[in-house]
């Protein structure tokens, strides 16, 4: 296996070493739930490998971390390709979370910008946002932060060029085609459209993260401040 293969994003997975103890598998094609379910299937299969000590599922990709460098990265890559080609999608019957959101106001300060970008009135942005059901496709970036799939493309909004410096944990956000709820208070480049009081991560809780991969999320308006 080489790291310098020209990428062909349309047909075959891209597999590369990240240093000597990590391998990244990237699925070809679009960010669809079907692809993400195949990543989950791959994650399950990779979990069973004795040489894998940690897995980081991403958005249509999977990083394998090995306890020691693999004897043959090529053999692992072949195994991954074969597993990707043959494994069925893994459907996770996740739990359903219904989350009340205080839309707009100071803590949803980017609602106007999202509405302007979408060319829609803010009320409609809010209705579209809580009209969809979302799926947690990966957890990462910050402890407990879930990348949510299911955002209506009409309200997809690029990340801000100047991030907010101190966005509170619990802010309901849109970042490109992804939706989320910020897990930690701090700098954040996603657009804030509302706020919810929810603790996404508690190291003393078991499991520490509130969301798990495959969980479904529905938002409902608790209040709207335009």
């Amino acid at each position: 296996m080489k790291n310098d293969v020209a990428r062909d994003t349309h047909a075959v997975p891209t597999i590369s070493m990240i240093g000597t103890r990590a391998m990244l598998f990237e699925a070809p094609g679009d960010f669809t739930m079907a692809h993400q379910r195949r990543i989950w299937a791959l994650m399950d299969a990779a979990q069973a490998r004795p040489d894998v000590c940690e897995l980081i599922p991403g958005v249509t990709n999977l990083m394998l971390i090995f306890a020691v460098p693999p004897d043959s990265p090529q053999a692992v890559a072949d195994w991954l390709r074969h597993a990707w080609d043959t494994l069925p999608e893994r459907h996770i019957e996740g739990r359903l979370f219904e989350i009340g959101v205080r839309y707009g106001g100071e803590l949803g300060g980017d609602l106007a910008a999202v509405a302007a970008h979408a060319g829609l009135p803010p009320e409609e942005v809010i209705a579209i946002h809580h009209g969809s059901e979302y799926t947690v496709c990966a957890i990462g970036s910050a402890p407990g932060f879930g990348y949510l799939h299911g955002l209506d493309p009409r309200i997809a909004t690029p990340r801000k060029t100047v991030p907010s410096l101190n966005m509170p944990a619990g802010t309901v956000t849109i970042g490109g085609m992804q939706a989320g709820i910020s897990a930690l208070t701090g700098p954040n480049g996603w657009n804030s459209i509302g706020y919810t009081e929810i603790t996404l991560f508690d190291p003393c809780r078991q499991p520490p993260a509130l969301f798990a991969i495959g969980d479904r999320i529905r938002f409902y308006p608790e209040s709207i401040a335009l």
Partner: protein, 336 residues
């Protein structure tokens, strides 16, 4: 117990890190220079992952409220116990009430105060490391402050006054005679290497990158002529590990380190190999670094001298302690 008398920002309790929770968004944390902690723990006969105090700002002063054996590793600095100079990388034993002062390093950047029996803070998600972003682990999930106390076992070693040769004196660097102040790091091309223009790829290896002040435990931001992609790419969020070199749109690379986010989205041009991460941890802001292309096989082979250095040290410490005990007529297992 120890009491912190003087500290400035960014000094924390760390161990070898918190693996196993990256799938929940929890980065590993842990010491930046794992080799220095391993040496300290070997010298003191500790389990490999006992916790220490990682110093990034100086001076740092603490008082031992109980007897202790200790070693300061990672840096060369003016280190004193009650005003008496001691050497880094050496085991010393102190009595209750004695004060340790670690001044700014002459070489290196991050010092490690290792104590026999380790620093006793609660284990959170399998580690004593401070997770600054998440606000847990270490001492209440935060940097140390003057007046803080940390639990130690109070046990001392029956033999002290021995030490280790610092890794920098033993482990070869990449052979490059140009400038002794430049730090040389081996790196493997990563996923998006070929997405950069040929000139930019060459520039990655040729540029003496400067470590900017926007560098910390999360990562080092480097300064130099920007690297350019053939064309812009939008990547989906993927897993990040320490050593990965990402290139944000402005073109100046970032090396992700111990407190990195678990996932990222910038193009990945290279990864600094594990065997050289300690050199980066000891590189100060303003220092220049050069990357040297290396293959997977070379990256794997580069760990062998590191492992051999630690194995030798473990054996030598064991032998020295056994013979010193025999000469002193101390029975095995006795404590001074």
């Amino acid at each position: 117990m120890i009491t912190i008398l003087e500290t400035s920002a960014l000094n924390t309790v760390q161990d070898l890190g918190r693996p196993g929770y990256r799938n929940l968004g929890v980065g590993t944390s842990g010491v930046m220079d794992a080799l220095a902690l391993r040496v300290g723990n070997i010298l003191l006969g500790n389990p490999v992952d006992d916790a220490c105090i990682e110093l990034q700002t100086y001076p740092f002063v603490l008082r031992f409220d109980a007897p202790a054996s200790l070693a300061v590793t990672g840096i060369d600095a003016a280190i004193e116990i009650d005003g008496r100079t001691i050497l880094p990388w050496m085991v010393e034993t102190v009595a209750a009430g004695q004060v340790l002062r670690v001044g700014p390093p002459k070489t290196g950047a991050r010092g490690y105060i290792c104590i026999a029996g380790g620093i006793e803070v609660p284990v959170v998600l399998g580690s004593r490391s401070t997770q600054l972003r998440g606000g847990f682990g270490g001492l209440d999930g935060r940097p140390l402050e003057a007046g803080d106390t940390l639990q130690t076992t109070g046990a001392t070693l029956d033999v002290s006054g021995y030490g280790a040769l610092p890794p920098a004196a033993v482990l070869d660097t990449v052979a490059c005679g140009d400038d002794a102040k430049v730090i040389h790091l081996r790196a493997m091309p990563a996923t998006d290497y070929e997405l950069f223009t040929p000139e930019s790829r060459q520039r990655l290896w040729d540029t003496p990158w400067r470590i900017t002040p926007q560098s910390n435990r999360v990562g080092y931001r480097l300064s130099g002529a920007p690297l350019e992609l053939h064309h812009r790419v939008e990547l989906r969020s993927y897993g990040v590990i320490a050593g990965i070199v990402q290139v944000p749109p402005a073109g100046e690379p970032i090396v992700q380190l111990a407190d990195a986010n678990t996932v990222g989205g910038y193009p990945r041009i290279a990864t600094v190999i594990e065997a050289d991460l300690w050199r980066l941890a000891q590189a100060r802001i303003g220092t220049r670094i050069r990357f040297h292309e290396c293959s997977f096989a070379e990256g794997v082979a580069a760990m062998r001298p590191v492992d051999a250095y630690l194995d030798d040290l473990r054996m030598m410490v064991d032998r020295y302690r056994t013979s010193a005990r025999c000469r002193a007529g101390i029975r095995s297992g006795d404590r001074a």
